[in-house]
Every structure is written in structure tokens, then in C-alpha cells.
């Protein structure tokens, strides 16, 4: 089983490797090798949908956000039926990138996409999706390569240092260990043939608004009502709710909603503090969550929370979403030139992780996280202060740095505030 999983493709070579592995490992306790993403049919029995895996903690089906590092921070991935809210950075540079990662991951796994926007045509958004770093052809070659390398290795037994034989084989290159979560190259576009093969539903607000002028009185802003009806129709027609059994292979619907709450949607939460329809946004989120909970779908929403005037709405929106991730970029702020942050492009705050089927949630211990955008990859890592290498740094400038470090995100801020308050 383990060996079979290690190199899924190439039936002939698999058998021989499996036999070899059985001979070499007599004990029944075997380390389950990482699945090197073979064909879908050779996947484990539990997962029948491509690009999903069950959570170890609560048994929920998870999908990847398209960023394996973010998946890890969110407790393995995004649970199906939940909402991921991205609080946009000031200029919507990096949040739209996360948005595209999420959609690209769905496209690679053959999920159905639903893209809603009031700003850009969804077709244009799809055109700009980043290319996966590993397409299927290359992956097959890669797998064969790995298998070829392994066959002689498993036959030769180590005489000295035999313990190293048990260690898992190191993988080279940014190959995800399974079909769950891929890496993307932001410098390249998604290949056209993948785009054409995809099943995508676009919701472009200006088009939908002009198509139907009949406005019935409702408790929501017209654009939100239209979008909810569109999502409900898609879920019903494609059979993502259990009531209408799917004829084909079960699939996941990935919903992406861009710049929700911005004035383009016809919402005035960004304009005044005491707005007329302040409940539209929260009601929309509630009904959307109701729709998601009863269907095989996951949703990403980017929201310009820094524009929302009334703080109370932000806290209500947070309470009504499942996972909340905040982005804070350094562009245009004084931190851009601060030597402390020279390695990073911004901070990422995990504000909320849902508690699903459980009393506790998978919260990571690390709260201070930063991101940077390399030439090809978007990287999230633990925030480190650079080492102070110079001997002649004056004491005063050091204190300046320490002061500015206190101004970090809430995670750090709380620790800094801990000087005057001790819980234990």
C-alpha cells in the first residue's frame, strides 16, 4: 500500500516496487508514504473528489486555498461549506493574488468555478490566473523518474547506517506531496487549454443589472439579491446540494466574490458611518453561509475592510464568516523603508479559524506571520527580525527599531502590552 502510493503511475514498475518493499519491510507497522499524486483512480478510497481530503481533526472535507502554506495555518485547508474572508490590503495587490490562487487551484483539480465581481469581467480574471508549476505531463515524467530511481535503491541494502534506509526519500523541486494544494508561478499565465476545459460561471454585476430591470422590494441591495439567486441556481442546477443527486462524478463548487461591500456593489457601508442599508452585507453573508452549508461548495470573499467606516459592521462580518485572514501590505507605509521589514512585503493576520464539529480549533502557535512575493512564488513565513550585524549601531537607533517592532500586528502588540499586564 505504502509503496503503491509512493509512485502511483506506471503499473508495471509499481508492482515490482511494491513486492520489493514487502520483502524489505517485514513488520506490519509501516509508515504511510506520501502519495506522489498519481492518477486519480489510485487515490485512497475515502476521497472520491479530486483536490479534497478529509480533515484529521474533525472529519470535514477540506479543499486547498491554493497556497499550501496558508492551508497549514488554517488547520489543513478550507472546510467544504465554509466561507474564507480575506481582508484586503490597502491597494488590493496581494488579496487579489490570493483570490486567483484559490480559483487556479480549483481549475487544476477540475472543480466548477463561480466568479462574481462588480469591477472586472470574470473572464478577464480567469485569463490572469497564475500557471501551475507542474502540469500533468511534467508530473508523469517526474514520477517515472522517481520510480526509476527508487527501484535500484530499494534492492540495495545499506550495510552501514542502515537506519537511513527507513527515512522518506527527499523530494526535489516544489512538488506537492499529493493532489491537494499546488504551487503556482505568478509570472506565467494559466495555459489556455486548461481554461477552455474548465467549467466556469461568471457573475459580472453590470451585465446582470442591465439584463433585468424589474426590481422587487427586498430586504437586500439589488446586486446582492441577484448574486444570491445566481449562486442558488448554479448550486441547484449543477446538483451541488444533496437533494438533486449528481449524475456524474461528485464535484466541488468554488465560489469567489471580489471586493464585496465596495461601492461598486451598490453598498454604502464604505461611504458613510450611518448607512441606510447597513444590514444588507451581513444578511447577504448569513444567507450565503446557509447556502454553502447545505452544498458541496467553498467560498472565498475579498472585502475592503479598511474602507468600511463603521467598525461595528466589521466585527459583525467577522462573526458571520468562518475563516478570516487579514492582509496588511507595506506598500506606501513607512514600514516599506524600515530595515526591520526589508525581507517582507507585508504581514498576514489569521484573525479567525472556525470550530467545526469540535470544541476547539486548529490554531497554530505562531501568530506573527509575514509574506513576501518572490519572482514566481507567494511565500508566507514566520516573521523574523534581521540580525544586527553592524558593531556601530547607536543605542538610540536600536530603541527606535524596538519601538517600531511594538507597532507590529495585534499578535506582537499584545505581547508588547504584556509588560503592564500579566495574566500569570
Amino acid at each position: 500500500m505504502a509503496a503503491e502510493a509512493t509512485c502511483g503511475s506506471g503499473a508495471a514498475s509499481t508492482k515490482s516496487v511494491a513486492e520489493a518493499a514487502r520483502k524489505s519491510n517485514i513488520t506490519s507497522f509501516q509508515r504511510r508514504g506520501p502519495k506522489a499524486g498519481g492518477t486519480e483512480s489510485s487515490g485512497p478510497r475515502l476521497v472520491s473528489i479530486a483536490g479534497t481530503r478529509p480533515s484529521l481533526r474533525n472529519g470535514q472535507l477540506l479543499v486547498s486555498t491554493g497556497l499550501p502554506a496558508l492551508d497549514q495555518l488554517l488547520g489543513g485547508g478550507l472546510a467544504v461549506g465554509t466561507v474564507l474572508l480575506i481582508e484586503e490590503d490597502k491597494y488590493d495587490v496581494y488579496s487579489s493574488l490570493l483570490f486567483k490562487y484559490f480559483l487556479a487551484e480549483g481549475l487544476i483539480n477540475g472543480h466548477v468555478l463561480l466568479v462574481a465581481s462588480a469591477k472586472e469581467d470574470p473572464a478577464n480574471i480567469l485569463q490572469e490566473l497564475p500557471a501551475p508549476l507542474l502540469d500533468d505531463n511534467y508530473k508523469k515524467e517526474f514520477d517515472e523518474e522517481v520510480c526509476d530511481h527508487q527501484t535500484p535503491e530499494t534492492n540495495t541494502k545499506m550495510k552501514i547506517a542502515w537506519r537511513y534506509q527507513l527515512l522518506p526519500k527527499m523530494k526535489t523541486g516544489p512538488v506537492s506531496s499529493s493532489r491537494f494544494g499546488h504551487y503556482y508561478d505568478v509570472s506565467k499565465r494559466m495555459p489556455q487549454e486548461l481554461l477552455e476545459a474548465s467549467n466556469c460561471h461568471g457573475f459580472f454585476l453590470p451585465q446582470k443589472m442591465s439584463s433585468n430591470l424589474k426590481v422587487e422590494p427586498c430586504s437586500l441591495i439589488h446586486g446582492y439579491t441577484k448574486l444570491l439567486q445566481f449562486i442558488q441556481n448554479t448550486i441547484y442546477e449543477e446538483g451541488f446540494d444533496g437533494s438533486n443527486p449528481q449524475k456524474k462524478q461528485k464535484n466541488i463548487l468554488r465560489i469567489g466574490i471580489q471586493n464585496l461591500g465596495s461601492p461598486l456593489w451598490g453598498d454604502d457601508v464604505c461611504c458613510t458611518e450611518n448607512c441606510n442599508n447597513s444590514h444588507s452585507l451581513t444578511k447577504f453573508l448569513y444567507v450565503l453561509r446557509g447556502l454553502l452549508r447545505t452544498s458541496l461548495s467553498a467560498c472565498i470573499i475579498t472585502m475592503p475592510t479598511h474602507l468600511i467606516q463603521n467598525k461595528a459592521i466589521i466585527s459583525r462580518v467577522t462573526n458571520l464568516s468562518d475563516t478570516v485572514v487579514g492582509l496588511e501590505s507595506f506598500i506606501g507605509s513607512e514600514r516599506e523603508t524600515n530595515p526591520l521589514y526589508k525581507d517582507y512585503h507585508g504581514l498576514i493576520h489569521i484573525r479567525q479559524i472556525p470550530r467545526l464539529n469540535n470544541l476547539i480549533c486548529d490554531e497554530s502557535d505562531v501568530k506573527d506571520l509575514a509574506f513576501k512575493l518572490k519572482r514566481k512564488l507567494f511565500i508566507i513565513e514566520r516573521l523574523h527580525l534581521p540580525p544586527d550585524l553592524s558593531d556601530t549601531v547607536s543605542r538610540s537607533s536600536k530603541q527606535d527599531l524596538a519601538e517600531s517592532a511594538k507597532l507590529l500586528g495585534p499578535g506582537c502588540g499584545m505581547m508588547a502590552g504584556g509588560k503592564k499586564h500579566l495574566d500569570f
Partner: protein, 266 residues
């Protein structure tokens, strides 16, 4: 049901007090574990429970309930539990016009709605039935959580009225209990929510307030629980005493300890 919390509150499932309003409140943390506690507590105490669940799906409450030793599906089949699943019914109410008024009818209404249908639903659910020869001890209304109602476009006064009606019916008339969760918005300056929270604090007999630590996240201490009893009729030392404990949530239980006495620190 967490035995340690029962010890702190000095209650056991057989000895349920009647006619009380309990306010659960959480600030900068998630207080849902308290809802799960009271749900399993009253189900074990053989009370008839009406659960207005606006935050999560039935399966979530059911799976957590199973970890705490109660089965919600069984309770629902027995008729002990009446479950209103807000998320699911919101979709039905929103997309289809209902013939008879639905408890969550206000979702469709453009103007600020009222909660009378919801109150009627609660009253129907908890109304004593003659032919059942009173197998259940006392009726209990549990709401998770009231802040969601504010987000759905209701005013704080409407929600306070709703709770007042429920108290009159459930606590006074039927000698039962009401338990409700409200978020404390903290520094978000949510005026409506503050009105609701203060109004409820004024009425309730017992307040359980879960707070995140002021010093931030900690792996071994998830927060602190403040217990505030208001017993105006008992002029004893117990009157108006407030207790603070820190807690750690585990897979199936919650352990409470005095401030600074976390096993990880000692």
C-alpha cells in the same frame, strides 16, 4: 456537559433550578463551549429544550453533543429537543415565499422586522402537552446567539422585547429556564450590541463571561471565565459574588483552574 463547570456553578443535572435567565457572553474569544455545555446539561437533566441555533448547522451541534455524551438526533426523535436551524431555514425563507409565517420571516421583510413569529414558535415548542403525561422536567429555551439577530437587521429593542416575552412565558408561566449567548463587541463600538448586552445583564440571574486573555494568545490557557451571580433575595455571603477562573478547552471537556494555576505554568 463539563463536570468541572457544574462544580463551579454548584449544580447537577438532577437538581436544576427553575425560572432563571442565564446570560452567556464572550469577548475576544469564542464562547460556544458554554452553549454546548448548557445544551448537554439540560438534555441530561431530562428537560424539554427548544434550541434556536443561528450560528452552526445541526450536524455540528450533534457531533459535539456526542462528544459530551448526548445524542441530539435521539433527543429530537423522542420529542425532547425542538431544533430551529437558522442557516438552513434562512435559505428556505429567502428564496421561497412561505405560506404560513416562518419563525425567521423577518429575513424577507424590507423594513425592520419583528420577532413575533419566532416567539410564537418558542411558545408552541415549549407548551406543555397533556397526553405526554409530563415526562420532561421543565422547559428550557437556548439561543445561540442573539448578536446574529442584530446582524440580520433587527433592532436591539426588538431582541430585548423578544427575550422579555420569552422570560414571561418560559420562566414565569412554565417555570423553566432561558439561556442566551451574546457577543461582546469590545472596542468595535457596536452600539446596538452594547444596548442588548447591558439590557440583558440587567435582567439575568447568572452571567457567565468568557474573555480572551488580555495578554494575547496562549497555548495552555484559552481564556478566563467570570461567573457573576445575582441573587437579590439571599442576603448571604454568596450574594453578588463574582469569581474568575482560567480555562483550557480540551477535546471533550474543559478544565478550570484558579488564575495563574495552569498546570503548564506550575
Amino acid at each position: 456537559m463539563f463536570p468541572e463547570l457544574n462544580n463551579l456553578l454548584n449544580t447537577t443535572p438532577p437538581g436544576v433550578e427553575q425560572g432563571k435567565l442565564t446570560l452567556l457572553c464572550d469577548a475576544k474569544t469564542d464562547g460556544s463551549f458554554l452553549v454546548h455545555h448548557f445544551l448537554s446539561f439540560y438534555l441530561k437533566a431530562n428537560c424539554k429544550v427548544c434550541f434556536v441555533a443561528l450560528v452552526q448547522s445541526f450536524s455540528h451541534y450533534n457531533i459535539v453533543g456526542q462528544k459530551l455524551g448526548v445524542s441530539l438526533t435521539m433527543a429530537r426523535e423522542r420529542g425532547q429537543l425542538v431544533f430551529l436551524e437558522g442557516l438552513k431555514s434562512s435559505v428556505d425563507v429567502f428564496f421561497q415565499a412561505q405560506e404560513e409565517p416562518h419563525p425567521l420571516q423577518f429575513l424577507r421583510e424590507a423594513s425592520a422586522g419583528n420577532l413575533e413569529p419566532l416567539y410564537q414558535f418558542v411558545r408552541e415548542a415549549l407548551k406543555p402537552v397533556d397526553n405526554e403525561e409530563a415526562t420532561w422536567k421543565c422547559p428550557v429555551l437556548l439561543v445561540d446567539d442573539l448578536s446574529v439577530l442584530l446582524s440580520l437587521g433587527l433592532g436591539a429593542v426588538a431582541v430585548l422585547d423578544f427575550i422579555h416575552y420569552c422570560r414571561a412565558t418560559v420562566c414565569q408561566e412554565l417555570k423553566g429556564n432561558v439561556v442566551a449567548l451574546v457577543h461582546d463587541s469590545g472596542d468595535a463600538e457596536d452600539e446596538e450590541n452594547d444596548i442588548l448586552l447591558n439590557g440583558l445583564s440587567h435582567q439575568s440571574h447568572l452571567i457567565l463571561r468568557a474573555e480572551g486573555l488580555a495578554t494575547g494568545f496562549c497555548k495552555d490557557v484559552h481564556g478566563q471565565l467570570r461567573i457573576l451571580w445575582r441573587r437579590p433575595l439571599k442576603p448571604t455571603a454568596q450574594r453578588d459574588r463574582s469569581l474568575t477562573y482560567q480555562y483550557k478547552i480540551q477535546d471533550k471537556s474543559v478544565s478550570f483552574f484558579a488564575k495563574g494555576m495552569s498546570p503548564a505554568v506550575l
